[in-house]
Structure formats: structure tokens, C-alpha cells
Point group: C2
């Protein structure tokens, strides 16, 4: 246990404790996250992929969903996220979409790779051109697809996010 007593250290300790407890209790992977606003914990999350049969249920995503539910908004303006491990690309982009203000993390993606997680590999895949990726990805029917974007541009009902 760290002897640091700054707020950042306290929140990070909380995220790490959640991660460790998540493993010891058999719930899921060694990942925990805490969303903080105005110096208080707004919501927490742990990895629930195998428990909930949801490959998107990473600690950060779960914490963001919980925080948004609590405040009744799809934006976490003014929030900081503390996560026991560097967010994978999915979680990192989720944090961007949620408009969090800062990220603190413990273990790195490279360290996660050492215990068998694919975060680092996914970062490498995303940095490659489409044709150089292992997972085939192909554009088609872009002309037809533009119709949905046109509908959005004209829609009087749209809520920007």
C-alpha cells in the first residue's frame, strides 16, 4: 500500500484496490476505475467482461456508464478518471467521447501485454493502414450511406453529442 496521501494517490489506490478485489472475488480481469468530480468519487467500475458476457464491459467503460447514469448526462465535463491500467483504445476513446478532463493510470498497456492482454496489439493495429491490419476492414456503399448523414444534417430533432 502506498504511503502517498495526495488526492490523486488516494483515488488511484481506490482504482487499484477495485482491480485486485475484482480478481480475488472471481468477477473478472484485474482492472478498476474511478470517476472523480470536484474531489469526490462519482462512480466506480471494474472489468465485467466474463461476468456479464459483454466484451465492452471494461472498468473504464463501466465507470463511465455508471457516472453518466448517476448524473443523468452523456457528458462527464469536469471529471477525472483514475484507472488501474492504461486505457485500451476502446476505453481511451470512450473517455474522449465522455469529455473527461484528465486520465491517471497505473499499469501500462505494455505491462498488460505481459500478462496476456491485447491492449498493446490493438494500439498497433489501429495505427496501421486498413490494408495492413490483421482484421479485414472494407468500405462499401458510401454513396448510399451518405443518405443517413444527410438526414442528420437536415434533422430538426438532433441532439449534438
Amino acid at each position: 500500500m502506498s504511503q502517498q496521501t495526495t488526492p490523486d494517490a488516494q483515488f488511484m489506490n481506490q482504482a487499484i484496490m477495485l482491480a485486485t478485489e475484482n480478481v480475488l472475488s472471481g468477477v473478472g480481469g484485474p482492472f478498476g476505475a474511478v470517476v472523480v468530480r470536484d474531489g469526490n468519487i462519482l462512480a466506480t467500475g471494474t472489468n465485467e467482461v466474463t461476468k456479464s458476457n459483454d466484451p465492452t464491459a471494461h472498468a473504464e467503460v463501466v465507470a463511465i456508464r455508471n457516472a453518466c447514469r448517476i448524473i443523468g448526462s452523456f457528458k462527464l465535463d469536469g471529471c477525472v478518471i483514475y484507472t488501474s491500467c492504461e486505457p485500451c483504445p476502446m476505453c481511451l476513446a470512450a473517455i474522449y467521447w465522455a469529455r473527461c478532463e484528465a486520465i491517471f493510470y497505473g499499469n501500462s498497456a505494455a505491462e498488460a501485454a505481459k500478462i496476456g492482454f491485447d491492449d498493446q496489439f490493438f494500439y498497433e493495429e489501429l495505427s496501421r493502414s486498413h490494408t495492413d491490419r490483421q482484421l479485414p476492414i472494407k468500405q462499401c456503399m458510401s454513396q448510399e450511406a451518405w443518405v443517413s448523414f444527410e438526414a442528420w444534417e437536415k434533422s430538426p430533432l438532433k441532439i449534438q453529442y
Copy 2:
């Protein structure tokens, strides 16, 4: 409407129709996705960010969650995803985590940028080193965080994903 009648075109048309309908009905953004296995639609999803106050509720993520719920697994082996727009980094990594086999998309991330979505910007951010990103990200307490990884390595309860 396309006159193409290949299965790929039919599934893409379905994703595009979902996207357009999502806008016209006021549910959310112009995005739809279809998860296909063995030539049949397993699940669909549309963007529900503003409807459900969940910034992670993009069409692909919603479709993946729905598909996983239906088959009772956190893996979509053998599945192909058709999405009306190029997946953002969150959705792309979600597709990787779900172990889908291929991706077809309609609009590009650059086209999404033209109607005000941040997908392209997020791809650029993720490709930058931590110190060059607009969103501050900082590692701390990596030594303490490793404890959770150590617990995972020793755990007899762990389910790999």
C-alpha cells in the same frame, strides 16, 4: 436505394436504413450496425448516446452487446459486422475485443468529421504520444498497480478473454 443484391449489400443496406431511421425517429445519431453470423442477422444496434445518456452507446457497441446477450458469450467468433460508418476507435477496439472476423462500413471517419463528429480527431489523438495529446494522460503508482496483475497471474478463478 442500391440495386445490388449480394448478401454484403443487403446487410449494409440494413445498417444504413437503421442509421437513417435512427435520425428520423429522433433516437440519436446517424449510425446503424448489424452483426451477422452464418449469413443471418444475429443482432442490430443504433446510436443511443443521447437517448440512454451513455456516451459508449454507439451503434457497433450496442449491436455487439445485443449479439453477445443473444448468444450468451463475450466472443463473437465467426461474426461479421456491417456498420453504416467507419467505426470510431472505441467501436473498432470493441470489435477487436469481441473477436469479430471482418468489418464492412459505409461512410468514412473523414466524412463523419464533415457533419461534426470527432472520430477522425480521436484517431489522430490516439496516434500521438501521450505528451502530445490534448487530453492529459499520466502514469502514476505503477508499482502499486502491478499487485492487481500479480493477483491475476496467480488466480485459480480467472477466465481468460
